[in-house]
């Protein structure tokens, strides 16, 4: 019941987001039709605007947009005029999702054990080394990590491709470049979660019953400790699946991430709208999934 309500609530929310995005976009200075080469006559510019209904009042344009949207039509990109927004998303999203999914797995595979280990060996050298490492991965931005990885593994060692997206090998460096930050973040969250869980009463109770330390940590503490990670993984997943401007740009990956930035600077209004809605749907959907996971992980959480 709760989840059905949540899904129903998402519809007006998406409307509000679309309205806000539409208004903000039209308030921003600059138009999609400005260009270095000015048309030979003002008439041409008028024709261009008429063709895309930019000669109508903004509210009417919004109504038109909603109407098209109701028919599943996101419109034509104003920058890449031979492509529809749906086309562009359909081409780029699978690529970004693959990269994002790989980076997510990478972050989990390295982040969770690292967080667990640093918490279990709190105060030991593992803790200090691990914490330093995770701190570094969180602090160094991907536009530094990515070129450094390319320099070491592609240019100096000739082990991996420098860029492009045409073989499984070419996926490795972008996955690491994108996933490192999240791995660090997850490791930090996991560590905090573990430390909190280990101090909680039910662990003390279990320990006093004589449970072995290892099974105590692995079976009982982890389930509580992982909750912050689960909370974080919803928005993180949305972030990862929609691609990254920097990583896609550096590795020349045909994903959707570059469009999030470029569509805005090109004032490609239809594209920006499509992406805003896509992102909103992903965030809402994944948060719902996170809440659902909560009910399964934490017996204290129940939704009515």
């Amino acid at each position: 019941m709760y989840f059905i309500r949540r899904i129903l609530f998402a519809i007006p929310l998406l409307f509000a987001i679309s309205l806000l995005a539409f208004v903000l976009m039209h308030l921003a200075p600059g138009s999609p039709f400005d260009s270095e080469r000015k048309p030979a006559s003002p008439e041409i510019e008028r024709n261009l605007k008429a063709k895309y209904h930019y000669d109508e009042p903004v509210w009417k344009q919004y109504m038109r947009y909603l109407n098209d949207l109701a028919h599943g039509d996101f419109g034509v990109s104003l920058k890449y005029r031979n492509h529809t927004v749906t086309d562009i998303i359909a081409q780029g999203l699978p690529v970004s999702m693959t990269l994002g999914g790989l980076a997510f797995c990478f972050a989990m595979v390295f982040g969770l054990p690292a967080g667990f280990l640093t918490a279990a060996r709190r105060g030991g050298w593992e803790d200090y080394a691990g914490s330093l490492l995770t701190l570094l991965t969180v602090c160094i931005p991907s536009f530094v990590i990515a070129p450094a990885l390319v320099l070491i593994f592609a240019i100096k060692c000739h082990l991996l491709p420098v860029a492009l997206w045409n073989s499984p090998w070419s996926m490795i460096l972008p996955t690491v470049a994108l996933g490192l930050y999240f791995a660090g973040k997850i490791s930090r969250l996991m560590r905090e979660g573990m430390l909190g869980a280990m101090q909680s009463e039910f662990i003390t109770a279990a320990r006093s019953k004589g449970l072995a330390e290892n099974s105590l940590l692995l079976k009982h503490a982890v389930r509580i400790a992982i909750l912050p990670v689960v909370t974080f993984s919803g928005p993180m997943m949305a972030d990862l699946l929609t691609g990254s401007f920097i990583v896609e740009n550096i590795f020349q990956i045909p994903g959707i991430g570059v469009f999030f930035v470029n569509s805005m600077s090109n004032r490609d209004h239809t594209m920006t709208m499509g992406l805003a809605l896509l992102y909103a749907i992903l965030v809402i959907g994944l948060n719902l999934l996170v809440d659902f996971a909560y009910t399964m992980l934490d017996p204290r959480v129940k939704y009515e």
Binding site: G30, A40, S41, T98, V162, M296
Partner: protein, 547 residues
């Protein structure tokens, strides 16, 4: 110890979730994301993703480099010197007054689908580019035809009145408003290229996604994936197919100079052909290498004054600012690719034309002029803004030049300029609305003639964007463009340019661009340096297989 039922359920579900995630990922990997394709013969890095591949729509140089391979015009450009040579038309007659061109098409012309290509296709393509509904930005390239401007701006609606017709399937008759010395060059320009009528009428704006896509050029469009690649495949029906040198060409839309260089160095790309695709920090070092080629071409970097704003309405002020600029410092310190500084707008080497000198570096006179204009030692001179956008590929060229100018004007004239960077789309809008005081500018010639530069500053012309206009200048340009005697025409243009860069100075030319491309001449042939930076795909080939 008992694991609770709930926990067991959870573990079960988690396992399922994990496995399904994994399966989903694998599906992705093996479905659409990575397509095994035969390798291309030639891979070229072509800068930004094409906005469009529709000849009537495109305006960017990168787009034109692709479209040139897909759609041919009546003429095409020679790969060596970029002069107009026969294309779809094998010969032409020009009437004695220079206003009527009769083009004789080749009789073996075919679309890539095997259907015949006739003069009606040429007429359709030109009318389509002029049709207000097409909203082609470059429609002005056809305004030299009789009634073309009137049709494009909606003053007349009957396309039959436009000066292009097809008296028979192999003849195109073009009637011009007045003699136009560069009309044959224009016939090779993308806007005038020949496009497939039936496909366009059937698919509308999405006609380029039609398969098979009928093309008139040397290459067919085999694939076009955004931000991934454009793949071209040799068109066997092209009239000159025997001279098409490579079977498959990939054009990659890489706009990051570092990525372009890395791909080239690792052999993933054979050719990188855009001056913006060389990392600016390395430009002087890389240009020492034998596979990096720099050449002059028809492009000028300059800045505009908004002459409708005080104090820039005073030519003395404009001249003073121009004279205080040490252009050598800009090319030596900032651009560093061997650019030549200039005082005039039209680049050296332009066909049938030599520019007069404009105002040079002379800080002494600059101070005198500023004092005459009422600002001795810069006293009382208002603070003003210099507007620019971010260079593509994240370069800092415009910013660095702005800062250099700021320093020169402060040191030489004692006046304060404020740098202001805005987003590119905002920049174009502000420039055309004259919402600026000074603005960074550049112009790349569309064809090899002085008019592509000087025609811009006619009063009210769309690309003027300075608010400046002089009837005397306008009439000189008009007279030059109807003049058939090349020497007299040059004289008229020189008088006009003197007004522009010596007397009135609404713009200050800084330097001429240097074109840069990189490829190994031992492995790649068919690319020649020329003034238009024009390198037809059909003549490029690999001479040696990679060792």
């Amino acid at each position: 110890m008992l694991i609770s039922k709930r926990a067991r359920q959870f573990i079960c579900q988690a396992r399922f979730l994990f496995l399904s995630c994994g399966a989903l990922l694998l599906c992705h990997l093996f479905s659409g994301c990575i397509r095994p394709e035969p390798p291309a013969d030639i891979t070229i890095i072509n800068n930004i993703e094409p906005e469009s591949l529709d000849p009537a729509i495109i305006v960017a140089q990168a787009d034109m480099r692709v479209v040139e391979g897909l759609f041919d015009g009546l003429t095409r450009l020679d790969p060596k010197d970029a002069s107009a040579i026969p294309g779809l038309a094998e010969r032409w007659d020009i009437s004695s007054d220079g206003t009527i061109y009769t083009f004789h098409l080749r009789t073996n012309l075919m679309w890539s689908t095997g259907e015949p290509l006739t003069s009606a296709d040429v007429v359709y393509s030109w009318i389509r580019a002029l049709d207000p509904k097409t909203a082609a930005r470059y429609a002005g390239q056809l305004y030299y035809l009789k009634n073309a401007e009137e049709f494009n701006t909606g003053k007349i609606t009957n396309a039959a009145l436009v000066g292009v017709s097809a008296p028979d399937p192999f003849t195109v008759r073009a009637e011009l408003k007045s003699p136009t010395a560069f009309f044959l060059d224009l016939c090779a320009f993308a806007t005038l290229a020949v496009v497939p009528r039936q496909t366009i009428e059937k698919y509308g704006d999405h006609w380029l996604s039609a398969r098979p896509l009928p093309v008139s050029g040397a290459y067919e469009l085999a694939a076009w994936r955004l931000n991934d690649k454009v793949r071209l495949k040799k068109n066997p029906y092209y009239w000159d197919a025997t001279n098409t040198q490579s079977e498959i060409i990939d054009l990659l839309p890489v706009s990051s100079p570092n990525t372009a260089l890395n791909l080239y160095e690792r052999g993933e790309a054979d050719i990188v052909w855009d001056k913006e695709l060389i990392p600016s920090e390395l430009v002087d070092v890389l240009l020492q290498r034998p596979d990096f080629h720099s050449f002059t071409y028809l492009g000028t970097y300059f800045f505009r004054f908004n002459v409708t704003r005080k104090p820039f309405d005073d030519p003395r002020v404009r001249k003073a600012l121009a004279m205080a600029v040490d252009k050598q410092r800009i090319v030596k310190k900032i651009t560093r690719a061997g650019e030549t500084t200039t005082t005039h707008l039209v680049p050296g080497g332009t066909q049938n034309y030599t520019s007069p000198e404009g105002v040079g570096y002379d800080p002494e006179t600059a101070r005198k002029l500023l004092a005459e204009a009422g600002y001795p030692d810069g006293k009382g001179f208002p603070r003003f803004e210099y507007l620019f956008n971010a260079a593509s590929g994240g370069g800092k060229i415009h910013e660095n030049i702005a800062i250099e100018l700021q320093q020169m004007w402060r040191d030489e004239l004692g006046i304060t300029m404020v740098v202001r960077q805005v987003e590119t789309q905002v920049f174009w809008g502000m420039q055309s609305r004259l919402d600026y005081s000074l603005s960074k500018s550049s112009w790349i010639g569309d064809y090899n003639d002085a008019n592509t530069f000087l025609g811009m500053f006619v009063t009210g012309e769309g690309n003027n964007e300075t608010g400046w206009g002089k009837p005397e200048y306008d009439s000189l340009i008009r007279a030059a463009n109807v003049e058939t005697d090349l020497k007299r025409r040059e004289k008229l243009f020189q008088q006009a340019e003197t007004i522009l860069v010596h007397d009135e100075v609404p713009i200050v030319p800084l330097y001429f661009y240097v074109g840069i491309n990189y490829f190994d001449t031992n492995r790649i042939s068919g690319i020649w340096a020329n003034l238009l930076d024009h390198h037809p795909l059909r003549s490029i080939k690999k001479t040696k297989v990679t060792p």
